[in-house]
Amino acid sequence: MATLAERRSLEPWQDPKAVPYLRIDRVTKKFGDVYAVDDVSLEIFQGEFFSLLGSSGCGKSTLLRMLAGLEYPSAGRIYIDGVDVTDVPAYSRPVNMMFQSYALFPHMSVEQNVEFGLKQDRMPRRERGERVGEMLDLLKITELRKRRPDQLSGGQRQRVALARSLAKHPKLLLLDEPLGALDKRLRENTQFELVNLQERLGITFVTVTHDQEEAMTMSTRIAVMDAGQIMQVDTPTAIYEFPTCRLVAEFIGSINLFEGKVVATEGNQVLVETRVGRPMRMRAFHPMVLGTPVTVAVRPEKMRLCADFRDDGVNQLKGRVEDIAYLGDVSIYRIRVGDGALVEMTLTNVQPRTEQALTWEQEVAIEWSPTSGVVLTE
């Protein structure tokens, strides 16, 4: 897996001259009166591992199916490698898909499943055999070649499905919840394997997932979708650290939200008055007008215990520990503050649990710095 720094150097979406490999241009899909996908535009570049993230029914799967040609858009165009494929049927598109259910043909062996796509292309028998061998090798399933799908475990099926969708050497691979049917341990291993595979083959991956952790680990970029629309498109880091709206902030991880309004601006910082206590001073990325209703968003792990609580301090809160969730590596504390709101704070368990200072009903003061959260305007 490439490090973050390496990835940074190849961020084509920041290069104005880069040509997208896949371009979705104002695509809408209506089922009856319902907008499954509502005016979505996206540019995805060669070699990306792009994730569509959202809860079920947000339109992510419909969007993916339109890319595969299994649904046709009600409006808008789709371009792959500069070619308008909007009206091209699934069987003529240079795209392959891995289905959520894997959709392995139950009446064919593993080998025949992988070979199926090659046969449709009328590839000569010899070449076909070589390609199948190569794919089975790549996914380490050569010894399963004669088995039928009902004789395979979940993880093995996932590999066969992947081998089958890669067999035709597509430039663009679509994956619908690729890890959804696997158990947690297998999932974590497979995540890394999938990323390795993608980087080795240089194929552009577009995946659909409802699992934020999965999207965070694997993707170059994530598009968060809700109600058929795209809420934010960005790198995993940016999505997590700098969400642009409440919905994205709340969807990824947990977050503390304080509603209030802007009472002063100082350079690139704003002072926000909220219901929970004294003003909060936060960094703002856009100039803001006084009186704007905003939400201050701070993640639980950005909170820390406050040693010198001052009555005129900013970004400080006092409260009482109400709940402790011990997760082993970290503990989550829920603290009831001034006006009755609950604030979450995560602390790493540096000391064994039994020797920790914080306990139920204890009075604590917490604080955070102006750069460890964002100010949301919507």
Partner: protein, 267 residues
């Protein structure tokens, strides 16, 4: 405490007896020497010999088998098409009506089907001159009209259970719709087609009422012959014939079972 099993076993025994003792009796009495079907006098195979010399009965049996085979094949083709339309095209105009009309023959009394078809055939013969006379063709058409409904029900159940993403996957891998149907859909619904065919075959072989209406002189099916001969007193030849049919059917089912099992293992 171990659960007592004999009540269940008794029930099972009664069930099987109810189903198969009559057939067993029929087979035993086919080897009866007596001219009377109900009185056992001694073992003999003479009725089988007489059967082979009875042209009327053999002709009727052959006709029935031919009609049943053609009927089953046509019914599978038409019934599968209808099932496809119902499962795959969820909202075409007149879908509800189509569904109703397709399944109507399942509940329609045979007498009504027979009579209405007879009227139709007569009217057609008078206006367009086809079908010229009644016989093989008219009986087959009549049988297809109701047995395709049964096939459609069987195939439809199988089709609607099938995972649609299998066909989508095939299409995604480059197979055109017709190829998808031939290489993915058909193999997967084959068991339903097979049982549909057998069902249609049996229904046709069985039918007395409808065939009586639409048959013409010189085209008498097996059930018609048996029925009319029963009225004059059953000849043990019928028993012999029935035994042969049971044997053939049993053999066919066993062979089909073996083939299907082997097919599964080879794959």
């Amino acid at each position: 405490m171990r659960r007592r099993r004999w009540p269940l076993l008794t029930l099972l025994a009664f069930g099987y007896a109810f189903l198969y003792v009559p057939i067993l009796l029929l087979i035993i009495y086919s080897f009866n020497e007596s001219r009377l079907v109900t009185v056992w006098t001694g073992f003999s195979t003479k009725w089988y010999g007489e059967l082979l010399r009875n042209r009327q009965l053999l002709d009727a049996a052959w006709l029935s088998v031919r009609i049943a085979a053609v009927n089953a094949t046509l019914a599978v083709v038409l019934g599968t098409l209808a099932a496809n339309a119902l499962v795959r095209h969820r909202n075409f105009r007149g879908r509800t009506g189509f569904e109703l009309l397709l399944t109507a023959p399942l509940v329609m009394p045979d007498v009504i089907i027979g009579l209405s078809l007879l009227l139709l055939f007569v009217a057609m013969q008078q206006t367009i001159g086809w079908p010229g006379g009644r016989g093989f063709t008219t009986i087959t058409i009549a049988h297809v009209t109701f047995s395709m409904a049964y096939v459609a029900v069987v195939v439809r159940a199988r089709l609607s259970q099938m995972d649609r993403s299998l066909e989508e996957a095939a299409m995604d891998l480059g197979a055109r719709p017709l190829r998808v149907y031939l290489t993915i859909t058909l193999p997967l619904i084959a068991p339903a087609l097979f049982s549909g065919w057998l069902l249609a075959f049996t229904l046709s072989l069985d039918d007395l009422v409808i065939a009586s209406f639409v048959a013409g002189p010189g085209s008498t099916t097996l059930p018609m012959v048996i029925y009319s001969s029963v009225r004059m007193g059953v000849s043990p030849q019928i028993n012999a014939l029935a035994t042969i049919i049971v044997a053939v059917v049993t053999l066919a089912v066993v062979i089909a079972g073996i083939l299907m099992r082997r097919g599964r293992e080879v794959r």
